[in-house]
Symmetry: C2
Subunit: 329 residues, 2 copies
């Protein structure tokens, strides 16, 4: 039997975010769809960066944000992802380790640069993501250590990772290792367009392998191609053990078989919604892997999401543990 | 006669800031002097970075921040400084140009990496700076284009630059070009320890060449080695045309010969004091070069400083023009 070292092993695209403010007109001129994530190649990344306003660089990556949040809560988190041995790669590695996350993936010594996501934050605090995947998509099936997956209570996979050439193989290998050890597999749908790109494959993987599904309203409706949230929630509840579905300011609904737990959103002065879903997953998984009820886990998710949207960047800044103690007791 | 293209040409160390929160104990263990700037070499930068918490990267550099703030106000700003052609160098160049500052200095193609400043922000919002000067100190006398200096109403020099091997020669060349064209030379003392390192040279340069002196209370007292602020202010007023002296929450005092204008600080929720002095200079110089009274220029400085201390990082985020219109009319 393997030792249980981690609450969560998160696997995803290792990315540094470049956040800049942008007007709605800036998005319109470039045909950018507000709130969504779009993949761009290096020339387009260069051109968009040149046109953007002054930025702030912060480590990001959806599953990496979740792992960082979990560690900030006092959970034992590990992360697998690929950077290049360049300056932004150094920043990514420093930040995730400094947050207390176990991270052992070696940096690529050649090939594309560390991935970056050009995040345009509009005055309504919405973020529009433009991701140059660079070194992140060089993550290979062989980088997934089955012993690490077996040593985590939950293996958490981000949907975005399916865009990598070996993404599907990575998902399979991680899920198999987790299942063999009797662990839970969690997945986030990541983005409605990501769901569009991989709907059939996601559906198969979810039905066969996922225990805990994270999605927002748009994503889960897109997955099942239904118009109502309740219908989508019912479908999800029929396929996975637990579905944690977020609805922005309407809070979240946690589904287990026929049960529905409604959790309110935490009031926040919204500065930048980047990372809201990622940090909701941090709080929820911290609760889930440490014996909290589903409802309490949901409230933990809400509190973490509320913190991360109150400032620029998708990694927590305030003491999440203290916030939860203060608000939930 | 050269064309007057710029309100201000700023010259300084081109640096990317890496900001992270730190406890007082973290500073104490390492013998770091809170609120001051310390120069560190590459091995020490690596060691300190490894020990620091997760960070945020933002373009910085004292005079560069001042140029960025001046451009944000609608002023015509130019900047001279040296980066390497690496990722953080790209970030620096992007950010200063995206802010509308004219920047033409070519990036070094070899030698040390782009300078970085490890900024430790303590819970009291004070910042402690640890600067690895890297490529910044490769700035050479030959990089100062006399035509550019002659084309600016004010040439603004940061004291920190004196730490570069060619710093004194850069100061002389820039000041000579400015004087020859009948322009004003401005200087900031940068930091009390910087004053300590170069007191005699600074005194000579100020007496012979500076028209507008920027300093905070500690710096100006250190320069003249006097115990009282008023005595230091009197000394400064005797040597330069205008001295703009900042006193944190006590506001600032602007001295011209026997006149003293007292300007209050703007109330702000203080998050990070990095850049307060730099942005005060932005506001003051914008006013000064655009026909405002010294008192009004001081209020502009206060408003800009108040904005930059209300968030992480030393570059402005809010619309400074709108803030000034709102608060000063």
């Amino acid at each position: 039997m393997s030792e249980m070292k981690f609450d969560v092993l998160a696997i995803g695209n290792a990315i540094v975010d470049v956040l800049a403010e942008a007007s709605d007109a800036f998005l319109d001129e470039r045909g950018l769809h507000k709130g969504a994530m779009r993949l761009i190649d290096e020339p387009e990344a260069d051109a968009l960066y040149a046109a953007m306003g002054p930025g702030v660089e912060v480590s990001g990556g959806s599953a990496a944000n979740t792992a960082a949040g979990l560690a900030a809560l006092g959970g034992a988190a590990a992360y697998i992802g690929r950077v290049r041995d360049d300056e932004l790669g150094d920043v990514f590695v420093h930040d995730i380790r400094a947050q207390g996350v176990t991270f052992k993936s070696p940096a690529a010594t050649d090939g594309p640069l560390t991935a970056r996501c050009l995040v345009l934050v509009t005055p309504d605090a919405q973020r529009t993501l433009n991701t140059y995947l660079g070194a992140a998509v060089m993550l290979a099936e062989a980088d997934i250590d089955p012993a690490m997956a077996a040593a985590a209570k939950v293996v958490y996979l981000e949907g975005y990772l399916w865009d990598a050439p070996e993404g599907p193989a990575i998902f399979r290998r991680a899920a198999e290792a987790a299942k063999r050890a009797g662990r839970d597999v969690a997945m986030t749908l990541s983005d409605p367009f990501c769901v569009d790109r991989h709907r059939a494959a996601f559906s198969d993987f979810i039905a066969s392998s996922v225990d805990i599904l994270f999605a927002n309203e748009d994503e889960v409706k897109s997955l099942y191609e239904v118009g109502s949230f309740d219908a989508a929630a019912d479908r999800a509840a029929g396929e996975v053990k637990v579905a944690a579905l977020t609805r922005s300011e309407k809070g979240s609904v946690i589904c287990r078989a026929g049960d529905r737990y409604h959790v309110s959103a935490r009031p926040a002065k919204v500065v930048d919604t980047t990372g809201a879903g990622d940090l909701y997953a941090s709080g929820f998984l911290y609760g889930y892997t440490n014996g909290a009820s589903l409802e309490r886990a949901g409230h933990m998710g809400s509190i973490c999401a509320g913190e991360v949207i109150s400032h620029l960047g998708a990694r927590p800044r305030q003491d999440l543990k203290a916030l939860i103690a203060e608000q939930l007791g």
